[in-house]
Subunit: 331 residues, 2 copies
């Protein structure tokens, strides 16, 4: 399963920070690739994920022969997937979209593989990758919810500027204006996305609605406050949960120590931070406090990796494992 | 009421960042002072609050003739008030201590003047200033609690390095080691103070116990997570509250627009940030969301001013207004 050998024809749409991480994660995880195309708005030669690509134009014909099309997606604007996913699916590709356009569509599975890989069955060619903040919270929350039930979640985020791509990094490092409503360096901005009529931002509403869909709990109470802080990469979250029954700290730690994709960093000095999670594919949890059915914890993941690229590649791997995609070359 | 004229003999104990702000707030607010002494561990000439002082040694005799002794206090170690407040009180001074040593003592009023100035009556010469994070939350929370009742509070903090004094600023700007357990620049550290047997840090426990004492609600549920972020000055907090009854957003905004000491910054672009609150004496609130009896908001205050020096000076002003202190010179 090497380049030009056995494997899948893969297209990565988008050459920004998520596109970059998609290429490097496909390589690092040894995804079976016979051909890897990078597509963007304009053709050019570019470094993506540490490799040099002749980037092609993202247009319908570019998806001829593609088995997996990863759309890097963007927060806050309609992604390329809205224009091009149909053309890719028609040509036989399975589309995995990191953008938010299709996540709440009833016909589109919204998947964090550790949590709900089973939802991939019966997909129609399009699978949505979950919001980065939602993923970071759900990797530790879902196994608690499965075992004990969950009634209420209150979450406050500490989000990195790379969630806004290279523009966000420029705003932090060079004070670039127009990216955030106020200066981000040495500051905290409690506004990510537009504000809806209920006062919640789009980021906060994603955390509520995506959590409900993925956990299969349409009435779950989720109260989120999404905040940008002057960190490059790594979204951290302070999470408070009311479970369906009283639990002991040992019961919680047993789950946190064994849940797939989760690393328990310890409670005191072992707590995880964004600087340590950056560049790592896992989700980290610590600062666990338990009182009756109330559980508080702190979790961190690299927003570009587990929050985006890693999760997307894991979705493709799960499709292969579950025999839910067959490369056309092998039909 | 000018220097060497009518007014009080005031001592400020501590020449760090809080001592500095105590001097400048006493001046800015026009506190009636006949003599202002700055005391510290060692005698020296020093700039404090923009003035040059011959700093005296903080020892019992230095409190002779003092009416108000402000102890700047320190987080995380026994403050000078433990050693010296008795000597100051014996000599007729009222001590206002910014440290945490006496806050939970039943014989010591713990006061945020906007909230519980009435608790100053019957003091025994020692009054405790509240923790900076608790103050920031209580200025908006207390008027909601008074009007509607409050059952539960979940709070996550975004705390500035100046809460650790000049050491904290050095850690942020120059990477000074030994101040925080991990690097703070471009990071978030969810550990402020030592961890107790229940898993909560001392900062988190202060927020719970001080809130209960000040609000007079010994059973109030408070779940706090205290986090240091790379901000110089200004503690921000994401607060979720369950009130005693359902409320409308208008009811909440009416209170936030009229509560003493509170500035409503608006909901969308008007939200407050640490950069804007730094150097200001007020407490700022925004991002208000209301669903039934669940209310979420974001609040910010300068941790050295309203979180420390301003609140301490307001306590002294309230003692004067309530005729709870008579300067010895006037007896």
């Amino acid at each position: 399963m090497s380049e030009n050998g056995q494997g899948y024809v893969v297209a990565v749409v988008g050459a920004g920070m998520v596109g970059d991480r998609l290429v490097s994660e496909l390589r690092r995880r040894g995804f079976p690739i016979s051909e890897l195309r990078v597509l963007a708005r304009t053709a050019r030669t570019a470094e993506v994920g540490g490799e040099t690509f002749e980037v092609g134009v993202a247009e319908p014909e570019a998806f001829e022969g593609v088995d997996f099309a990863f759309f890097a997606g963007t927060e806050g604007e309609k992604g390329a997937a809205v224009q091009l996913s149909g053309a890719a699916i028609e040509r036989g590709a399975v589309v995995i979209d990191n953008g938010s356009d299709f996540r709440l569509d009833d016909n589109v599975p919204l998947v964090v593989p550790e949590v709900n890989a089973g939802d991939l069955a019966g997909h129609n060619g399009l699978i949505a990758n979950c919001n980065c903040s939602t993923i970071t919270m759900l990797v530790p929350l879902a196994p608690l919810a499965r075992k004990f039930g969950v009634e209420k979640v209150v979450v406050s985020t500490y989000q990195a500027v790379s969630g806004s791509g290279r523009d966000g990094v420029e705003a932090l490092e060079n004070g670039r204006e127009g990216v955030y409503p106020k200066p981000i360096d040495r500051n905290a901005i409690p506004l990510i996305g537009g504000v809806g009529p209920d006062g919640y931002t789009s980021e906060e509403t994603k955390m509520r609605l995506e959590s409900r869909k993925i956990l299969g709990l349409p009435d779950l109470e989720v109260y989120a406050t999404a905040v940008r802080i002057p960190v490059h990469t790594g979204h951290a979250e302070s999470v408070y949960v009311e479970l369906g029954r009283e639990v002991t700290k040992d019961e919680v730690l047993e789950i946190f120590s064994s849940a797939p994709g989760l690393v328990f960093s310890g409670d005191a000095d072992g707590f995880p931070t964004p600087l340590e999670a950056a560049g790592e594919p896992g989700t980290y949890v610590g600062r666990v406090r338990v009182e009756g059915n109330r559980v508080s914890f702190w979790c961190v993941a690299d927003n570009l990796l587990k929050g985006a690229a890693t999760n997307a590649v894991q979705i493709a791997e799960s499709l292969i494992e579950q025999a839910l995609v067959t490369p056309k070359a092998k039909v």
